[in-house]
């Protein structure tokens, strides 16, 4: 069976066949036996590749695409996302792929939290005009204060949160309509 393994931007196409007790993986002329040992309920595995052995954790990292297995691979604390998909599924998916959705109006910027933390203080209100570089809010994370500034000049269109609110990474905090007041 052919698989496509995606690591970051890189894609590998490999042929894999079950071979008790593991899998025989071939990529080009290379053929290597791969075996995974684990205990039920644990995400930590012993990975044998040829004569090499690694202790890895495989953490489910659900993919929004059906037929694609998303896994966060962790080795010695180094973590990277991997996607695995059957080559045949990929071909169908490419054929069925819809037209890309129309983009949002480019002059409205959604400002998201660059890290998780607490919004300690907000310096803006909805409808307020800001210049690029103006202070927007203080993000407090693990006792460090980070000042967040406006990336563009414009008007605060929506403010989604209040001060004192905990936020996750990439959570939208406000939108700025670029340019002059409407």
């Amino acid at each position: 069976m052919r698989f496509i393994v995606t690591i970051g931007e890189r894609e590998l196409e490999v042929e894999a066949t079950p071979s008790n007790p593991g899998v025989l993986v071939s990529r080009g002329a290379e053929r290597v036996p791969v075996r995974l040992e684990g205990v039920p309920g644990s995400k930590i595995y012993t990975l044998h590749v040829g004569d090499q052995t690694f202790r890895v954790a495989l953490i489910p990292d659900p993919s929004p695409t059906a037929g694609v297995r998303g896994v966060l691979v962790s080795w010695r604390g180094y973590e990277f996302p991997v996607k695995v998909e059957r080559a045949v599924t990929r071909r169908y998916r490419v054929l069925l792929r819809k037209q890309p959705q129309a983009h949002r109006a480019p002059h409205i910027h959604t400002i998201t939290s660059h890290m998780p933390g607490l919004i300690a203080q907000i310096f803006i209100t909805e409808g307020q005009r800001v210049e690029a570089g103006d202070r927007l809010w203080l993000l407090e994370a693990m006792k460090m204060e980070n000042e967040v500034r406006a990336p563009v000049a414009g008007v605060i269109e929506k403010l989604y949160i209040q001060s004192g609110t905990p936020v996750e990474k990439d959570q939208p905090i406000c939108t700025i309509r670029e340019g002059d007041a409407p």
Binding site: R10, G22, V23, I44, V56, A57, V71, Y78, P166
Partner: protein, 482 residues
Amino acid sequence: MKGFLLRKVLIANRGEIARRVIRACKELGLQTVAVYSDADRYALHVQEADEAYPLGLPPPVQSYLRLEKILEIAKRSHCQAIHPGYGFLAENPEFAQAVEDAGLVFVGPTAQTIRLLGDKVAARQLAHSLGIPTLPGTFEKITDVQTAQRVAEQLGYPVLIKAAAGGGGKGMRIVQSPSELASALERAMSEAYTAFGDSSVFLEKFIPKAKHIEVQILADGHGNVVHLFERECSVQRRHQKLIEESPAPLLTESERAQICAAAVKLAQAVGYRSAGTVEFLYDVDQRSFSFLEVNTRLQVEHPITEMRTGVDIVQEQLRIASGERLSFSQADVRPRGHAIELRICAEDPQNDFAPSLGKIIEVRFPQGEHIRVDHALQRALRIWPYYDSLIAKLIVWGEDRPHAIERALEALDETFVLGVRTTLWFHRRALEHPEFRAGSYCTDFVQREREALLSKPPAKLVETLALGALAQEIYAFYRDHR
């Protein structure tokens, strides 16, 4: 215990340090009372204490910093003493005073000592008056830009702005040039106010090539002071420590004797009681020491000293709190081998050490002789933004430095903390780095060697590891289609 009244102790803290103190209490046959915020309802320190009481909402001001509430719980549960751990109320003189006023024992120095040494400017003056070298800088507090500018000009850039009311890297800013001074001062004062409720700062000459070396002291308040030798803590980011080791590599015997003696002298001068740490900056180019500050509390990195000396610092704190005299003298302290502590933090080193929040999926720690892991992790535990990012301390001992480093690397290999990003990979890179191996690293190590310390495994190896995910998919496919 021989002491006069100690039977039950309230631990006004959370996480690994609360567990550490509870363990010491149990070993001394003392009852323990835990306190917790709503976020810590199911935390291990709550489960392990004999009794536990809620403090309030998760933010520290509404829970672990509620001095009166904690006192009330201590009285209601018939405790005779309060151990503050580190952080939170540990160096708050009002708290120490309130505890003593309520007729309880504060496991730490007297309120007077905390107040004196907590004022970093007063501590500088004190060290100076005792003939202990201090860095060029102000002996007065600064609250305005004009004064700061004048002083900075006199000292010459770069200068370091520090909070007058506390340490730990909060409210600290390096200023390279006059144009940066005003905004750095504003941020430092704001951070100092948030962390300590006091925005005043002071200025010191910034030493670029420096090592952070500190001396552990123990004093019984009856005039007996011993030191438990030094620790080097120069692997830092944002002025906060990531790796500590003892002894300090590259320190000569006479330099070691010199700083340990200075630490004892300072402790004697203030009639110190309990455990404390005297911090020094070692100027590598000048080969000279300067006094930095005194931390009037149990330190995060105390375990490496315990591993080398065999002294249980927390038990000693509790014995001293019950009025006992130190049971050993300086000559009895015979450190052995080398100890290293790795502070595993819920942070993403690849993303400028930004906090990583989430839910712990699984943890696995190494085990064996000369390995100690202090943590409070368990499956399904949430890592909150309200508290410190330190989630586990991996401590190892070896007969010498190379053996300790080897053991630390092996211990790292056995460590898994899944569910949040951690500093584990960074720690491995640091231990492998030639500068760390040589022991020549300075406080700028992490910043300067950032690229090497954050370098990823080779692409070929990453591809090999990714085969684990492939194998899992194939196993699942055949299981589903059997």
